[in-house]
Symmetry: C2
Subunit: 387 residues, 2 copies
C-alpha cells in the first residue's frame, strides 16, 4: 500500500426533499449567492423554483448565471469570475450535474486569483484559496459534488482539460435521488458508465497489497451494475436511484484510491474525443475503456481475471487465466450495450480522421496512464481498436 493523504470535507446531505434545505445551508456561508446552472431542465422540473424559494426564505441576495453547457466552457467561467468579483459573491451554488459543478468550482478558485484561471489547467499555477461552493446535484455521474477535480473546455483550440486540488471539494452537496427520476435513459446510462469508469480507473493499479480498497471498488461496481438496469426499467425506483447516486459520489471522492495509484489513461483519451465532438463523457468512456483493457491486460492478467471473477461473476479457471480476463472485458462490453451505450467510435458516429491530433494533444504533457505508460503511438493504437 502506498502512503496517502485523504481529506474529503464535503458535507453530504442525502435523501428525499433535501433540496429544500439549501437556503439554510447556504446561509451558513454568507449573504450573497451566485446561482449557477445549465439550460432549462431545472426550470421545467420545478427544481429552480424550489431552490429559489428556499434561498429567499433565508433572505439571501441572489445573482444568477445560467447557460452552462455540457463540456463547460472557459468563457462562461470567466464571466462568472467577473460577476463574483463585481458583486462580492460569498458562495456559488451549483444546481445541476458535473458540468455546472465544474464550472462553479473553477469560478470559485478563479475569483481570488490574479492570473488567468486557465493557468490551473496547464499546471502553470495552483490555487491557494477560493470562495465557498455549494451543490444541488441533479445527475449522478461525475462525482464532482465532492471530488477534487474540475474539467473545463477552452474554446481557443477546443482543449478540454482537468486539474486536481483539494480546494475543489465543495463545502456541501445536496443529493436527492428523486431529482434524477426524470433523467433521460441515455443520460442515466452515460452517468452509470462515468461512475463505473471512476471506479475502474482506480481499480486497475499496479500497486500490490490493497485488499480493502480492491473490495470497496468491487462493492461499488456491483452496486452500479445491479441498479442501472433497474432504473432504466423503472425510472422512479427511489431505492435504485439512491444506490446509484450515492455510489456516484463514493466512486470519485478518492476513498477508493487510498493507498493505490490509479490509471486515468482512458479518461484522458476520452477527453480528447468529447472535447472535439461533444460526445457525452460516459458514452466516450464506454468506447475507450474496453479498448484500453484489451491493449493493456497482458501486463497484469491476474488483476483482469480478478475483475472478471469478483465483479462479473465469471467462473474462475486457473488453467486459462487469460480467458477469464477476456471474459470480464466481454461482460463489460455486454453491459454497456445492454444499457444502450455505443462501444465503438462507429456506433457513436465519430470519424477516424483526427486520431493523430487527439493522441498528440492527449500526450503533450507526457505519457498518460499508470497501469502502463502510454505514449502517442499507444494512444493511436487504442483509438484504432475503438473503431
Amino acid at each position: 500500500m502506498e502512503n496517502f493523504v485523504y481529506h474529503c470535507p464535503t458535507k453530504i446531505i442525502f435523501g428525499k426533499g433535501t433540496e429544500n434545505q439549501v437556503g439554510s445551508e447556504v446561509s451558513k456561508y454568507g449573504k450573497k449567492v451566485l446561482l449557477h446552472y445549465g439550460g432549462g431542465s431545472i426550470k421545467k422540473s420545478g427544481l429552480y423554483d424550489r431552490v429559489l424559494k428556499s434561498l429567499k426564505n433565508e433572505a439571501l441576495e441572489i445573482i444568477e448565471l445560467g447557460g452552462v453547457q455540457p463540456n463547460p466552457r472557459l468563457s462562461l467561467v470567466k464571466e462568472g469570475i467577473d460577476i463574483c468579483r463585481k458583486e462580492k459573491i460569498d458562495i456559488i451554488l451549483a444546481v445541476g450535474g458535473g458540468s455546472v459543478i465544474d464550472s462553479a468550482k473553477t469560478i470559485a478558485v478563479g475569483v481570488p486569483y490574479d492570473g488567468d484561471v486557465w493557468d490551473f489547467f496547464i499546471e502553470k499555477a495552483e490555487p491557494e484559496k477560493r470562495i465557498f461552493i455549494g451543490v444541488v446535484l441533479t445527475i449522478p455521474a461525475s462525482g464532482s459534488e465532492s471530488s477534487d477535480s474540475a474539467v473545463i473546455t477552452n474554446e481557443d483550440g477546443m482543449y478540454k482539460k482537468g486539474f486536481n486540488s483539494n480546494l475543489l471539494r465543495p463545502d456541501f452537496a445536496i443529493l436527492n435521488p428523486e431529482l434524477t427520476f426524470t433523467l433521460p435513459r441515455y443520460q442515466t446510462a452515460c452517468g452509470a458508465s462515468d461512475i463505473m469508469a471512476h471506479i475502474m480507473e482506480r481499480y486497475f493499479t499496479r500497486v500490490r497489497d490493497v485488499e480493502l480498497t480492491d473490495r470497496l471498488c468491487e462493492a461499488a461496481l456491483k452496486t452500479v451494475i445491479n441498479n442501472t438496469p433497474i432504473v432504466l426499467r423503472e425510472p422512479e425506483n427511489y431505492a435504485a436511484r439512491a444506490e446509484i447516486m450515492w455510489t456516484g459520489t463514493i466512486a470519485h471522492n478518492n476513498l477508493l484510491d487510498t493507498g493505490r495509484i490509479g490509471d486515468w489513461a482512458s479518461h484522458k483519451i476520452e477527453m480528447e474525443i468529447s472535447g472535439l465532438y461533444d460526445l457525452a463523457h460516459g458514452a466516450g468512456l464506454a468506447i475507450i475503456f474496453p479498448a484500453w483493457m484489451k491493449y493493456v491486460y497482458k501486463n497484469d492478467v491476474g488483476r483482469f481475471a480478478r475483475f472478471a471473477v469478483r465483479v462479473w461473476d465469471v467462473e474462475p479457471d486457473f488453467y486459462d487465466i487469460e480467458k477469464v480476463a477476456l471474459e470480464g472485458i466481454k461482460k463489460l462490453e455486454d453491459f454497456y450495450r445492454e444499457i444502450g451505450l455505443p462501444i465503438t467510435l462507429k456506433e457513436a458516429n465519430i470519424p477516424y480522421d483526427r486520431f493523430e491530433e487527439m493522441a498528440r494533444k492527449c500526450t503533450e504533457m507526457g505519457p498518460v496512464g499508470n497501469f502502463i505508460k502510454l505514449n502517442k503511438d499507444d494512444v493511436i493504437r487504442i483509438l484504432e481498436m475503438s473503431k
Copy 2:
C-alpha cells in the same frame, strides 16, 4: 434507504514514517499544544521522542498530560480542561489509541463549555465549539481517530458512557501502520474485534434497500477477517497491518451506515461490563456479540443468512435459511477463538452476580438497540447467554 447527513472532515495522513509530519501539521492550528498520552509504551517505542522532535522543529510550545488509562477517566479529562484553559492551549495532540483520543476529544469540547463536561454524556447539553484536535494513532481499534464519538468512565459510580457529535471528529489523524508492529497479540486481537463490531453494529439493520453500504460492510469485514490471522503470525507484516489500520478508520467514520440505522445494543451492553471490570472493550464485544446475535436473529433470519454467506463464505441453503444464519454466528465465534479472544464471561473471569445492575444502568435512558429494542430483561437474558 434513509435520509442522511455525512460529514467527516478529518484529514487522514496514512503511511510509513508519517508521524514525522506531526509538527508541521500541528503548526497549522496554533502555537501551543497539549501533548496527551497514556502510559510508558510510546516512550519505550521511541514514538514519544520522534513526536517531540517534530513538534520542537516547528518551535511549538508543548505542555504534557500523560497517564490516560484504558477506559479513560473523567477526572483526568477535567484536569486536562483546567490545563488548557490556564495555558491557553490551541490544539490537543492525542498520541495513542482510542482511550487517549477519547480523552483528548472530551477535553477539547470541555474547554469552551461553562458547565460540567459530563453533561454531554448524560444528554443534558450538546457541545457547540471546541479547541483543535490532532491524533497520532497507535492502536487500530476504536476508530476514534475520525469518529464522531467519545467514551469516558465517570469514577463516581463507574459509569462508562459515550456521546456523539460531529464536533468530536479530529482535525487530522496520522496513521502509520509501522507503529502497530509492537502491539501485543491480545491487544491486536481486541482491536480486530472492536473494528468488526463497529461494522457489524451497522450491518445489522432493519432498513431495506441499502445495497452499497451492505457491500461496503462486507468488504470491510472480509478484510479484517483475512488480515488479523496474518498480523498475529507476522506482527511486522506492513501490508496486513496497513489493511487493518485503514479498515479500522473506515469502520467507524460513519460511511458504512449512511442511509442505514445501526443497532448498537451490543456496544451498550459491553460498556457495562468493561466499565465495571476493566475488561478490554474488544474482548467484551467478542463475548456479547454472538450472544446478542443468537437472541435476535429470528427477527430477520435473511440478514443473518446473508452475513453467513457473504462474509463467512457459508454455502447458501435455501431450504434451511436458519441453519445458514446459525452457521454464520458459529463462524464468528470460531474466529474469535482462533485469534485468542474469550467468547464467554467465564473465559474472561467475569462474575455473574451483577447482571441486574448492568442491565439497569444499560437501559436507564430507555431500551437499547434498533435491530430490535431491548429492555432490561432482554439485556439480562443476553448476559445469561454470555455465561
